[in-house]
């Protein structure tokens, strides 16, 4: 409905311009051509206030960015979804060059988002499916005891651990 009103109003503005042009003596296509003034005038009226607003927004962004730390930049998106970025950094230090990992996460509403972030933070190491086929298993908010046979389980905190995969690649 709102779109229809906007379109109708714009067409009406165009019609008024044509009528006005005919009143001042323009005829035929020349009068119709004056409709070009509608977008031009609208652009002039809208562009300047928008220009000012956007400039202010960009300056605000510049100011806000000046206070960011390197950690905010690197990990801010993960921190924003309450990912345990410190655990992931700790786990990443275990992975050797070109080693892969399987990511095991407990079920929660945020599991999908957390997994996307975790795989991003653990890059360039590559995640594999099934998890046990990687060099390592990374346990995130899940009980590693369910996955038997990890002699060298390294626990960061309850539910968060890393272990050499029993199967391997």
């Amino acid at each position: 409905m709102r779109l229809a009103i906007q379109v109708a109003a714009t067409l009406a503005a165009g019609g008024l311009v044509v009528i006005a042009m005919r009143r001042v003596g323009l005829r035929g296509k020349r009068a119709v051509g004056a409709v070009a003034m509608v977008p031009v005038i609208t652009a002039c009226l809208l562009a300047l206030p928008t220009y000012r607003e956007q400039i202010n927004e960009l300056l605000d962004a510049h100011e806000a960015n000046a206070t960011l730390t390197a950690r905010d930049v690197r990990l801010g998106n993960g921190i924003g979804i309450n990912a345990d970025v410190d655990f992931l950094a700790w786990a990443k230090r275990h992975l050797g060059d070109e080693e892969t990992f399987g990511f095991v996460i407990g079920s929660s509403d945020e599991a999908g988002s957390l997994e996307q972030w975790a795989l991003f933070q653990l890059a360039p190491h590559v995640a594999v499916e099934p998890p046990a086929s990687g060099d390592w298993l990374v346990f995130y908010d899940v009980n590693p005891d369910e996955y038997v046979g990890h002699a060298d389980l390294d626990v960061y905190k309850p539910g968060f651990a890393i272990a050499r995969s029993p199967v391997g690649p």
Binding site: T10, L11, A43
Partner: protein, 476 residues
């Protein structure tokens, strides 16, 4: 500072390569001031063509490194230079390229319009660059899809199977084309680091470059008094500049699409050599950025083809250009097919009447959501109503009718394609609309921008009594 300079060096090389492509196709004369004026279009051409070529090389198994990039950029320069070898060089301008500056007191009013436009856009560009220079990427897809792929492409010289055929990363839409992450990865490689703060600096250049490019393309058909305020509006439209700062691929894709549609619209108006190759390059990269870009590109090619056939334009040239676009999107599609990678959209079911009927209840909400975005004055500043006005007036009055029909057809077919994609999508409609519709409308809105720019220019010509394209070209 070193990594920053190196990554901006990639942009400079892209602009240089693009400039020689434009010189080669005859769109930019070998003249200092013209080359400077065309720098925005040159950057967009290089940023479109080079990644498309690199994606094709990747699918063929050619290692893509900075050396490959330099070779492709150099090839653009050599081929462009070879094609332009017979172009005359303006001897007077070569001796004094800035002589026009000395006569500023006698500049006509329209030159001052351009000067004010350049000053405003220049200030906005610099402040914008300051605003985004240290901005981290906060948009979800920007890091989860695009930078993730760019990082893989920076660490591996090939389409690393450990990632691109890995089910664990299916959430990153492994079927999406790669032009955008390839473009990002070039900057990462040059900087020597995947820096989440660096991406938006270069994305910002795409915005400034595209506005500059549109001004260059339109300069001879549309008077500055028309394009300057409308382009200034486009530059500051929150739907464009605000969304661009999320780091998603949608706005860059829409900017390329807009350039492609304008170049094709202008070719349809006058069949000027050089415009068709530019349209093809811009549409090729649009199709190589996202699946929505592919749908939009095919829609534009279909509508363009229909106009060419109906108005009996140069079918052979058009078919060559359209063929080149299709050829450019094939390598990635073939690679996907060979490796059995499928997207989440059930395209084959999308023409099955039974499947469509079962989901007919999705059409209404999809249309309402898309049209609701069009009507959002906070984001799109009445671009669609203005486009409707100029298209209706052009169609009724006959001023630029074939061009108006082209823009209208493009808009409607793209709109229909997007409604169809929501119709057949396997995702929960509410979620799908909530997470995508505000971005999806970028391409149709920039088609509206193209229509407003071009048709307003044609209409103003009839008001001022200037010889319009029809008088120069009886086919219009």
């Amino acid at each position: 500072m070193g990594p920053d300079i190196a990554s901006f060096g990639i942009d400079a090389l892209l602009a240089f390569a693009g400039l020689w492509v434009l010189i080669g196709i005859g769109l930019v004369p070998l003249r200092g001031s013209s080359m400077l004026a065309a720098l925005g279009l040159a950057y967009m051409t290089g940023a479109a063509l080079v990644p498309v070529v690199l994606v094709a090389l990747l699918t063929l198994g050619v290692p893509v490194t900075l050396v490959t990039f330099f070779v492709v950029a150099l090839a653009c320069v050599v081929v462009g230079g070879f094609a332009a070898r017979k172009s005359p060089i303006d001897a007077m301008e070569t001796s004094d390229p800035l002589r026009w500056l000395r006569h500023w007191r006698s500049w006509p009013a329209e030159t001052w319009v351009v000067v004010v436009f350049v000053a405003l856009v220049g200030a906005y560009s610099v402040i914008g660059m300051l605003g985004v220079f240290e901005s981290p990427l906060a948009g979800w897809d920007s890091w989860s899809i695009w930078v993730r792929k760019a990082q893989v492409l920076s660490n591996h010289d090939s389409l690393f199977h450990g990632f691109f055929t890995n089910e664990s990363y299916s959430f990153a839409h492994l079927d999406y084309p790669l032009a955008y992450p390839v473009w990002e990865s070039l900057h990462f490689r040059a900087a020597g680091v995947v820096d989440l703060q660096a991406v938006l600096r270069h994305v910002w250049l795409l915005l400034v470059g595209s506005i500059w490019a549109l001004a260059y393309l339109l300069r001879e058909r549309v008077r500055p008094v028309v394009w300057a305020p409308i382009l200034l509006l486009a530059l500051t439209t929150p739907g464009i500049s605000g969304q661009l700062r999320d780091g998603y691929a949608d706005v860059p894709m829409a900017l390329f699409a807009c350039l492609g549609v304008v170049a094709l619209g202008m070719w349809i108006a006058k069949e000027e050599a050089g415009l068709l190759p530019v349209a093809a390059i811009m549409l090729a990269v649009t199709a190589n950025m996202k699946n929505e870009g592919l749908a939009a590109t095919l829609a534009v090619l279909v509508v363009g083809g229909a106009v060419v056939l109906v108005r009996r334009l140069d079918v052979r040239s058009y078919a060559t250009a359209a063929g080149a676009v299709v050829l450019a999107l094939l390598p990635w599609r073939v690679w996907l097919a060979v490796h059995g990678i499928e997207g989440d959209m059930p395209v084959s079911k999308g023409l099955n009447p039974g499947y469509l009927l079962d989901r007919i209840d999705r059409v209404g909400p999809a249309i309402a959501a898309i049209n609701g975005q069009f009507a959002d004055p906070e984001r799109w500043l009445y671009l669609l109503p203005l486009a409707t006005l100029v298209v209706v007036v052009s169609l009724v009055s006959g001023v630029g009718r074939r061009v108006a029909a082209f823009y209208l057809g493009c808009f409607l077919l793209i709109w229909a394609a997007f409604v169809w994609s929501y119709w057949i999508s396997p995702h929960d409609l509410e979620w799908h609309l909530a997470t995508s519709v505000d971005r999806v409308v970028s391409i149709p809105m920039l088609v509206c921008l193209a229509a407003v720019l071009h048709l307003s220019g044609l209409l103003l010509r009839t008001l001022t009594g200037e010889p319009g394209p029809r008088q120069r070209d009886p086919l219009i």
